[in-house]
Amino acid sequence: MNSRDTLAQRIHRGEVRALARGLSMVENGDPGAGELLHTLFSAIPDHVTIGVTGPPGAGKSTLLDRMITRFRSQERRVGVIAVDPSSPFTGGALLGDRLRMQSHAVDPGVFIRSMGNRGHLGGISGATRDAGLILAAAGYDPVLVETVGVGQAEVEVAEIADVTALVLVPGTGDEVQAMKAGIMEIADLIVLNKADRPGMDQLEAAVAASLELAPEDRPRPPVVRVSAESGEGLEALWTSLDLLLSSTDPELRRLENTRRILRGILGESGARFGEMLLRSEYGSENELLELISGGSVTPYEAGLRLVRVAERMLEEDENQQD
């Protein structure tokens, strides 16, 4: 426990090596990660998380690089989590987002961490939220999250970000049509990047058309044209971003974040509890699978039985307390 406390203290002091270790712990699902987050939790300062998402090649990393420069000019320390896809076959990953942000590598006010999604399907990795909390505990604010190049349904970044920017480029008008149900709905801000390229007007029209179909009660995301490469339009983007950030209520933000953390933890501990029950009732998952393929049990029946066992345990517990 003491070594964990020390790691937490070192993270609090902003020690790079300790912070890097802490991030690896949450990423690897290290048994000490829960304890570490517990120790850090109450001292996490108020901070904002900005998600940057969009299809592959939209210029997310370049835009992030510009965003880092911009927040650094306000003397804020910037944390970045950049997620790239892991190979589903080998588990390996080529993490190249950093390439476009390397000019910030020697700036002590910037911490960049690359992550493979390790099979997680929502456009971020399973550890991204907790990694963001650790960066915040080390004093980084804002925390910027870059998703893997996403398609239509990778909307999870909106679950962890206070503001989510969707980056689109000309030539993807048809894709915008297809996206309208999923990813278009999570965007708080739409960035039309590579403004110097032909096809910008068509893209803007496609975006406008798809926003027409969005539910009336949702605020319309501002749409900004930029060229992250040349810097054109960035001032207008920062204005929109600041407006969105200042319109989120810190109290509400904290409450919502905590609710999501809690739900995540419930999901994990629920799964663990379920596995424990399964082992006590059926021996092992494989034994249950054999029963199911033998036809004596259905998976649904097994699920109901596990819930009944849990209910009985709770009842007995209550009776003992009475």
Partner: protein, 133 residues
């Protein structure tokens, strides 16, 4: 626990020939590792800082310009100074045979010269991991 081997592949100095670095990066990825590629023309400090932030197990440097005797040890020195002495270093590129002992003395566990199959680099990493555990 889902621990993956993390390797940073970097190119210090001024040469822009990154074919070898990318070839190795890809091979390591295909061997199941997480490879952080930082691109060409990096300062030793930028490479070392990236390695520390990314919490890598290995740093592999590639250089074809001839400045390896200066730039490779510099990365090793910065890593040591910043608490990254446990990160295992290897290098590759156009490196004359007679320079290899000096680089090893500077902290490089292996130097791979042109023509080395990628499988040899993978085997080196796997072997180092086995020895460490």
């Amino acid at each position: 626990m889902d621990r993956r081997t993390r390797v940073l592949i970097g190119k210090p100095g001024l040469d822009g020939h990154d074919r070898g670095a990318k070839y190795i990066a890809r091979a390591l990825r295909d061997a199941g590792m997480e490879v952080i590629y930082t691109g060409i023309r990096q300062t030793p400090q930028a490479i070392a800082e990236a390695a520390l932030q990314e919490d890598v197990d290995f740093v592999g440097l590639s250089l074809l310009s001839g400045a390896h005797n200066h730039l490779f040890p510099e990365v090793a020195r910065i890593l040591r100074d910043k608490g990254g002495a446990d990160i295992i270093l290897f290098g590759g590129g156009v490196i004359p045979e007679e320079d290899i002992p000096g680089l090893k003395q500077a902290g490089f566990k292996a130097i791979f010269t042109p023509g080395t199959p990628a499988s040899e680099v993978v085997a080196f990493i796997e072997n180092e991991l086995k020895n460490r555990n």
